[in-house]
Subunit: 195 residues, 2 copies
DNA sequence: TCCTACATGTAACGAGTTACATGATTTC
DNA sequence: GAAATCATGTAACTCGTTACATGTAGGA
């Protein structure tokens, strides 16, 4: 079996979940919703069909684990599956796109009044503050010194949200005080306008 | 005309481009590729059909501008189009997803050796450094003190890339020196492990 | 009894990419 | 004359969401 064919991103995310241990499609959805969601979401409509494809490709095996009348199929990653996962992880990324609808909306906001633009930035800030709170809740501080990838990425996520929040404050200040000397924007080295 | 129906995100991005002035489908693709691309890409396969839908909905009007034998249709945003764009911009975002394949790949890298994990992080850093260079090229420093949205977002993009680069250095240090006191991660307040 | 969580799945639709086809104009 | 750029478009495909259907188990 296992005619070698391209595995989709969702497929690789599923393999990634199963690399932590056997689980059901339902479990995978839970894991994705509480971990990769900010960087990569997945719906049941993708997960269940993809599980069948991965099994047909020999990358995972499913085992019936019904308890009483409640059905449950647990999937386990195979050696071929682990290899495919590793290959996917090591692959370089050709196209960088950090799709962010909120930022795109802001990008096209020049025809609005300053008041509306500022209100929009404040709205974005509030949304990201809520996101940061979610991440902080997930973050068990007892584990903050672990160097596991999920933990490092969690800290990445919190820093990223904080960065956006800081940028919002900076941008509002820029719009409100355009003639004042430009403060150093978050993340950037000091930027000084030239003649 | 103009039966009120939901406008897609690409449609709104097209309206956003046209809010800067009349242009062709080809022009729109150029603008997207040199501005919103990092946050929102669009292909001809989406742009041309969407232009027809927007025209049918009365949000834009197309005008033939062929020069010699070379065809060209320039589109202009209408009042209704501007209103639809404004409504879209002001809409709050229900679902925050900053899809980032590179980060997802890292997230699932725990089964690799430390050497492989570090190599992957260095790869990610190099990719983002290249991205930052692209942004710096776009950034005309003479305009750095302008408070137009595209300019503020450009500075956002540069800060964001720098943040990822800094995080990469921090993460490599964490993996290489797990027992050393944890340095403050980029963007975050100091995080201290608790008992 | 009712609600929540567990559990699996599909059909219809919309979003988005890729590859292709076509032809004119400009620049080297 | 060749290559790059301008310019428009479609067909086939994959990706991804939403809404629905179905039923079990456990706790309030």
């Amino acid at each position: 079996m296992a005619v070698q064919q391209k595995i989709s991103n969702v497929g690789c995310v599923i393999l990634g979940c199963l690399s932590k241990g056997p689980m059901s499609g339902y479990d995978i959805k839970q894991v994705v919703d509480t971990s990769t969601r900010f960087f990569f979401a997945a719906s049941y409509g993708q997960i269940y069909p993809e599980l069948k494809k991965l099994e047909a490709a020999g990358l995972i095996t499913g085992e019936g684990k019904a308890q009483g009348g409640r059905q449950r199929t647990e999937f386990t990653i195979t050696k071929a599956g682990t290899d495919a996962l590793t290959a996917w992880i090591l692959e370089p990324q050709n196209r960088i796109e950090m799709r962010d609808e909120g930022i795109v909306r802001l990008f096209f906001s020049d025809h609005l009044s300053d008041e509306q633009r500022i209100a929009k930035i404040e709205q974005l800030k509030a949304e990201r503050q809520a996101g940061l709170e979610t991440l902080k809740t997930i973050c068990d501080l007892n584990l903050v010194d672990e160097t596991s990838s999920p933990n490092l990425i969690l800290i990445y996520g919190m820093g990223l949200h904080q960065f956006v929040i800081d940028w919002c404050d900076w941008a509002v200040d820029r719009i409100e005080n355009p003639s004042k000397p430009m403060p150093t924007p978050p993340g950037n080295p000091p930027l000084t306008p030239q003649e």
